[in-house]
Symmetry: C2
């Protein structure tokens, strides 16, 4: 036996630390229940490869930790015998998920398993765009939500999606041009300001939307996904093997800053001809000969006109769809996804210009990558960044279900 | 206890199949030795978290299977006591790795641990470019290499890198314009033609080169890497978390077909303004006012002229570097790599135009993604696709070290 290693004494004969093994098994079971919903013990056995007796013991531990609850019995799929049904305890295990957009702020309490319990949204004025004002608003919304939680509820963590570049190492916003932020320590300051200082993780909102669509939306269960969101700016998220592609410090997925037109316009980032200059909201408004700072109301009016068959509105959208197709073709050739999810403006215009978009993809995507490719609108819409932020915030609990329980100060004793 | 499951009786008290666990541990040890070279048992313990007694047993099994060998003892790093050193048996465990390029074919015998034992290269004429002729040449080269293997050597598998789009599901080449191939069942036909019908896996050569640089080259041990190779066409490979990003059917990484110039030239793929039309070999020759079909000799002459300070050659290379920078900027904004590896033509021109390339990146890459980014030339050069093909071919053995041994018909081939 090795000596000197603090964990050596807990290793069993197969050479693996039994604590590590137990945690892995607890994590596997909790993840299955979180992602799939209620399951019988026999279904858990099929999904995890664990024996029925092991599942019984592990389910017991998770129940004792108040992460999961019994839900009676159901007929076993294979033999028709009754099998105990287990589900996450979504009521008593929540995270707060926030979305910091340019014109709005939303915070939701979301239970284990992805149940959105309650959402608070507020409009943001120019006066409320600063980092400190944003933090104060998030804290206030979290306090409102806290007051609605049942007794004995644990707030596991807080997840925040921000319309900007986020460095994952320190949860700070490296750059958010549309908020006027640069090197903003959002995660650290928010954690300090929240009651009980819960863990806070921050990510780009388009990345979180992509994650949400794969976990619970339009691309559920798909491994290889590209998601693009059009708003004022253009965001994106890439998933491979079902997980977000984050890059070396969490900045990956900046699809808006692919160069697509060397003779194009100057982008907010300083470069020339980024995709965002061709498919952002301002570009669409310009194509319709409208002032390019009209924002959401002008876009809504333009989309309404196109629905009524207005020729100039349709022409603008079709030209926009062509540029959407040019950039998407590059993304499909690079990533070979099986599903592309369109969100925001792209989702709203998709049914009007689906044919034009497809024609551009047919012209530009390599045939082998085009075969079997699905382009679908977002299923979660404005909730996507919140649901993605909740998935991110639950990750630590899912990875180590018991690590933060027992004498956990976050469990509210009301 | 569950009944009816064929593996239930092999589960130990922790609920995990002991066969699965044993295989995982054997795999972990063999992978560490394959990637890192010879290690003492105490180093293996630190790397794997397994106990000394477990490592002893597992090393014994791998030794019995003739995958690893004893290498005497070395001083233990921590206490200075002698500790047994273990290494892969590279002599007796090999794969054949092939690279099918436009103008050449190479096949190498490569040992476990990445040792290149012997390489056979041949030039390819137009007459030898067909699928069947290529297969015949690979088989002949494999037979030559077989005759040099020591007694008792196992050929675990064959890996092939091809300059074309490869579908991973069936190891067939979906499209290789520069070879004139489309839907070519290379993997299947090659396996049938080889003595003993060893497992054959096929992949895109630029993807394999990227893998090789991360495992054993310029980006060794780096998790987030973009690699781009300029030859006649332009290929690329993307790695995240140290693994190749393959997409939904193995086609990811087609960096040459990002649209970068909507008013540009028609590409071999049929689209307009793909990156390949701006940074392929033909584009460089056109920039130097040379016939664009001059191939390698013309490129060599041009690079020689630039080394001697020829102004027009330098101007052509600097313009080429600007377009290299435009596309690379998009890739860096999308992937947020920590290292970009330049191969082929890009490697050869890099030292001449490094400043021009960096200037373009400075202009276009988001500052947060530019911070800490390294652009480096390939370290493996023309061997990269072979070394990558060997890594791919060894994967099955590394994942299940004992699965194919014991009564293995491939052992003792002489």
């Amino acid at each position: 036996m090795a000596t000197g290693s603090p964990l050596a004494s807990t290793a069993d004969r197969s050479g693996v630390r039994s604590e590590t093994l137990r945690n892995t098994n607890l994590s596997t079971i909790l993840r299955e229940l979180h992602r799939r919903g209620p399951l019988t013990r026999s279904e858990l056995g099929q999904l995890t490869g664990l024996t029925r007796s092991s599942i019984g013991a592990l389910v017991g531990e998770l129940t004792k930790a108040r992460l999961i609850v019994d839900r009676g019995t159901a007929a076993d799929g294979q033999r028709g015998r009754p099998s105990a049904v287990t589900a996450v305890d979504a009521e008593h295990n929540v995270v707060f998920a926030a979305h910091v957009a340019v014109d709005s702020l939303a915070v939701a309490s979301i239970g284990l398993g992805g149940t959105v319990h309650r959402t608070v949204r507020s409009q943001r004025t120019r006066r409320r765009l600063g980092l400190d004002a944003t933090i104060a608003d998030i804290v206030q919304h979290c306090n409102e939500l806290s007051s609605t939680l049942p007794a004995g509820c644990t707030v596991h963590a807080v997840g925040v999606g921000v319309v900007g570049l986020v460095r994952s190492a320190d949860n700070s916003v490296a750059l958010a041009p549309n908020l006027g932020w640069s090197e903003a320590p959002l995660g650290q300051k928010l954690q300090a300001a929240l009651t009980g200082n819960p863990p806070v993780t921050v990510a780009n909102d388009a990345n979180l939307s992509a994650l949400a669509e794969v976990r619970r939306g339009a691309a559920m269960g798909v491994d290889e996904v590209v998601s693009v969101w059009g708003e004022v700016g253009v965001g994106g998220g890439l998933l491979t093997r079902g997980e977000l592609f984050l890059g070396s410090n969490g900045l990956a997925g900046e699809v808006g800053h692919m160069p697509v037109n060397p003779d194009g316009r100057r982008c907010g980032c300083g470069a020339i001809g980024c995709w965002e200059t061709e498919v952002g909201a301002a570009a669409l408004l310009r194509r319709a000969a409208l002032p390019d700072d009209g924002g959401r109301p002008a876009l809504d009016a333009l989309l309404d006109r196109s629905q009524s068959g207005d020729a100039s509105a349709l022409a603008a959208l079709r030209d926009h769809a062509r540029w959407l197709g040019i950039g998407l073709s590059g993304l499909v050739n690079l990533f070979n996804p099986s599903v592309v999810v369109l969100g925001g403006l792209f989702q709203r215009m998709h049914h009007v210009v689906a044919e034009d978009l497809q024609a551009e993809l047919d012209r530009r995507v390599l045939p082998a990558a085009l075969a079997g490719l699905c382009v679908v609108p977002s299923a979660l819409g404005a909730d996507a960044p919140l649901i993605g932020a909740a998935e991110m915030a639950f990750e630590a609990t899912l990875a180590s279900p018991l690590a933060m329980h027992g004498g956990d100060p976050r469990r509210t004793n009301r």
